[in-house]
Amino acid sequence: MLQEKLQDVFNEPGCSTNQAKSEKERKKGCSKALKPGAAAGGCAYDGAMIALQPIADAAHLVHGPIACLGNSWDNRGTRSSGSQLYRTGFTTDMSELDIIHGGEKKLYRAIKEIVQQYDPPAVFVYQTCVPAMIGDDIEAVCKFAAKKLGKPVIPVMAPGFVGSKNLGNKLAGETLLDHVIGTVEPEVTTPTDICIVGEYNLAGELWLVKPLLDEIGIRILSCISGDGRYNEVAQAHRARLTMVVCSQALVNVGRKMQERWGIPYFEGSFYGVSDMSDTLRTMARMLVERGADKAIIDRTEGVIAREESRVWRRLEPYRPRFDGKRVLLFTGGVKSWSMVTALEGAGLTIVGTSTKKSTKEDKERIKKMKGEEFHQWDDLKPRDIYKMLRDSEADIMMSGGRSQFIALKAKVPWLDLNQERHTPYAGYDGIVNLCEEIDKTLSNPIWRQVRLAAPWDLKPDSRPDAKPVGA
């Protein structure tokens, strides 16, 4: 069954990369085969957890040995404005005996305990490699538990060894489509209800966007899954419009919601000034097309005009400070590209980027935008990045946490663009935050000090306090 599901997500008509492939290539899936001894990145279970854990009032129970949760819980920056139950780590902590006798009974008892003690609106149960190997029928246990306990108990079938984090994202989306979306009817609907897919409220980013939507009069009926509530996610099928944020990962949710409930979707981004404005405009236009009051278009333009002029005014002070500063962007993700225009608007120069995760179209787009001179690296080794930074080919690197020490050990400023960061970069205010963070890092006085030679490495005449010869 999982195999069928995998073939289903590998064939995604809504994904242009996918459709550009041959039939045979498509069957192999989206991620490149991993090379033993030279692989990096999370597994499918990791990806599923990233996509679903932001549903804050649900319990998230991991069925597996301790490694899957014990080594990983409490390490993500997604935030909730209410229930904090999602931050509690639950696992069946399978022992040797559970593996010999099967873990199904323990799993049921664990679900029951959680329901009795925490009374969450739903329990998500994550399949992992070991129970998948020994044949624990998690779907059956969940079905049984749901009936017995009178609560949705949802099996998330994404054991780590089926593939990458990105695949896990998709499988999580499928889980929501199969078990959650469409199971609860909202009390009230409005013509401006939207569903946002693929926004995880990292560092509270959604909260930089929501006030603007409120002002325009657009209601987030359901966010999948940042600051999410189980019942809101279950009501997503009554939205008038879906916005898919992290397009490569969860476009399957947007497309299937269109298929099943006729909800149109668009791919948008909250990162960067022009992308943010485009997103708001598209949202308003598509809602009006579906019968919302035309007035929201004017209100949207009003908000955009005000916010854009405000944001450029606020970025102005950074311009002289950023003059001539070169940024190395090291994150294949599309979202960072939305920020590029804004960063350049603030006076920064982007010297190059990795395109490991980018599609062919992305690369063409970058080439068109930046010209042939611009560096695009497909597979830049950490050693080469280190050397570039050491040779001062950039003033700051922006990347995910994984590569932070490449920059820091080269004694070059570094800024986190990934999920572990603590500052929200979405929306208009987010771009100002980003520039403030860059400025803080670039202007920190430590850089000169940490590059000083140790006293024992100094030649006698180059000591700072040495008298110049002949003085």
């Binding site: 991993l34 090379k35 033993p36 001894g37 030279a38 692989a39 990096a40 990145g41 999370g42 597994c43 499918a44 279970y45 990791d46 129970l61 597996g64 040995p65 301790i66 490694a67 899957c68 949760l69 014990g70 080594n71 990983s72 819980w73 409490d74 390490n75 509690t88 780590g89 639950f90 696992t91 069946t92 902590d93 399978m94 022992s95 040797e96 559970d98 593996i99 323990k106 664990a110 679900i111 029951k112 305990e113 959680i114 490699c129 070991v130 190997m133 780590g160 060894f161 089926v162 593939g163 990458s164 950490p382 050693r383 280190y386 050397k387 946490g401 020490f405 490449i406 050990k409 080269a410």
Partner: protein, 470 residues
Amino acid sequence: MGNIQRFPHSAKAASTNPLKMSQPLGAALAFLGVDRCMPLFHGSQGCTAFGLVLLVRHFREAIPLQTTAMDQVSTILGGYENLEQAVRTIHERNAPALIGVATTGVTETKGEDMAGQYSLFRQRNPALAGLKLVFANTPDFSGGFEDGFSAAVTGIVEEVVQPSETTVKGQINVLAGCHLSPGDVEELRDIIESFGLSPIFLPDLSLSMSGRQPDDFTATSLGGVTVERIAAMGASEATLVIGEHMRVAAAALELKTDVRSVFFDRLTGLEASDRLVRTLSELSGRPVPAKLRRQRETLVDGMLDGHFFYSRKRIAVALEPDLLYAVTSFLADMGAEVIAAVSPTQTAVLEKLKAATVMVGDHSDVETLARDADLIVSNSHGRQGAARIGVPLHRMGLPMFDRLGAGLKVHVGYRGTRELLFEIGNLFLSREMDHDEHGHAHGHPHGHPHGDGHEHGQHCGSGSCGCSAG
């Protein structure tokens, strides 16, 4: 290993806010204390990614850690090919001195024959004879972090150490358990060298994990004990074995080399430090250096100044077993009452714990047991529960991702004990000062040894104890 069922185990089916970390992670840490090493998990890539992130957050260092990237097919058909390819790739790209392979739940459930795979690999790859390869069986589904660390150290001893006909005067081995931070190892080196002895630490995290500034990019561990030094351990005069979980490795070392072992169950506390110093003095035949004499004096003085604040304080401790033993013993030494000692795994050292309740459990058990405690001592994962019940948390162990310098904390020897004594004592002291300032306004007594934990909680938002960090 994890099968001695002597102590009550949390009755829950759902481990909630786990304290336990997996065996392969412990093995990875041990391997990271060897110079130019690449630890390799034989399992799916997620096993490695999670372990990597946890160690990065704790040490704030780049962590070399690779994976055999098992997928569904190789899991079922057998993982030898992935393993061989991984080892060869790592050898070609990074040329490490040692590759430390740790199995995971995936390969152990399948039942991969690691001894067989080792022989097969050696047979098929004669060109790689110079590469040291250590295979450790570290299933995720039994034991925990400490057991994995122990398995890796034992594996290194068996693969690398050479017996020796001769003895190098003044050279001693130290099997350093995972309850010792890089800072602890550095402190021990100082102490041992001050007797004119030359220690070989296995593993030596102080050289690799304490914040290196490399001249060039390295994909393997940088620093740590070299393979050559490990090989030379057979020529030492004695082996200091630090921690119960190092006993298996110690036995392997003794069997191989005939170097006698001196066992230390802990190095935190006055008497424990005295024993270390006495042993070193005997081994070296030298008097105790003036520096250590001064340190002992100041520790005694610190105990006199500090005992007021420790007496009958009710403390819950949840840490890896050997650290749990060291900390609870130290607290008992200071007159505090350990109301609960929670261990992630069943292990022999729990027999020796002095605590009202000893159990195998998780952070949610601590939350229940510590409701009227004055303090919780645990890793950073304890902060959510501590905040909920309003009890301050003193962070120790791993992971400690919300504090700088987690790897450099020192709690061994006279100086380390003194540091720990002051850190915990200051938490009590500051709360009693708070009570003096606010107690009357709130109308409840202060400085009472059995004070109500919930009321304590209300004074606990200043951040000094970390409760507000949740």
